[in-house]
Symmetry: C2
DNA sequence: AACTTAATTGGAATGATTCCAAAAATCAAT
DNA sequence: ATTGATTTTTGGAATCATTCCAATTAAGTT
């Protein structure tokens, strides 16, 4: 598992802009997220990261995730009271939480719908972030 | 601070249906929520509840809130990683979290918009709950 | 009242996340 | 390349909202 050249450039770019250093651990955590885009928790990222970087610590995974989120490369996804999950999908999207499998699915949201949602706010209220999530049952997979 | 007759009936009704007993503490916690509908945390509910029922425990407040939520009389509102808040507004509504004051405001959401949101889901996906929340700055209050 | 079952209580336990201070790594300037 | 200044990483301790527990109390029933 390796970081694609374009992703690597995006990372360097974003880190530089935030005056943060590029490190082996940050690259690796980012690569882990891009490799399997299934909204892992910090613990899951830690487990995956360790398979190829056995010395990375959980604290560092938390630090890297926090850095990636603050750089805008990764979204932190909070579902109910569960541990945070992390998502490298930068398009505007909502999340569907499947109660049976526990999986989280990305749902694209067209811009005009976002605009419609913003119109619900009373005059003067400015939303800098909108979070939309669904909870329910996904169709049984025809495995 | 007293529970209105209609609220009291709704409570008895909902508890009975769930085969739960009506208790002084449950009535009181419900009354606290209805009295000031500002999305308090469990700690805040505890503080308010104690002013007129000094012997109630924090564990009981958590228990009562959980009961009220499971009866459908109260909504548990989770914002980012903050402590849960509790809301007795049963209409379909979203929440606006004001970054300056920390306050949470109810935003009504028309049914047709909800329908539009549900249409975003791929075929076969059934949402039994939709959560919509805004984070941003409310207009400075003209106090 | 006596009995059965559920709810309340204070305190301990849990668990995701954050904090800390020492060691290691990065970057800039020689 | 070496030095020095600044970040980052690291393991472990601390935090804190929430849950769990076992004993006491209250509710509802006969
Ligand atoms: Mn889940
Ligand atoms: Mn807040
Ligand atoms: Zn996502
Ligand atoms: Zn509300």
């Amino acid at each position: 598992m390796k970081l694609a050249t374009t992703a690597k450039r995006a990372l360097g770019e974003a880190l530089g802009q935030a005056k943060q250093r590029s490190t082996r651990q940050r690259e690796h955590v980012f690569a882990v997220l891009l490799d399997k885009r299934d909204h892992p928790t910090a613990d899951e990222v830690y487990a995956r990261a360790r398979t190829t970087m056995p010395t990375i610590s959980l604290a560092t995974v938390y630090n890297c995730l926090e850095t990636l989120v603050s750089c805008g490369l990764v979204r932190q996804v909070n579902i109910e009271r569960e541990p945070s999950r992390y998502c490298p999908n930068l398009r505007e999207h909502a999340h569907f939480h499947d109660l049976r499998s526990g999986r989280v699915l990305d749902i694209d949201v067209p811009t005009d719908l976002i605009t419609g949602l913003k119109r619900l706010l009373p005059a003067g209220y400015e939303a800098e972030h909108i979070e939309l999530s669904f909870r329910g049952k996904a169709p049984t997979s025809k495995a």
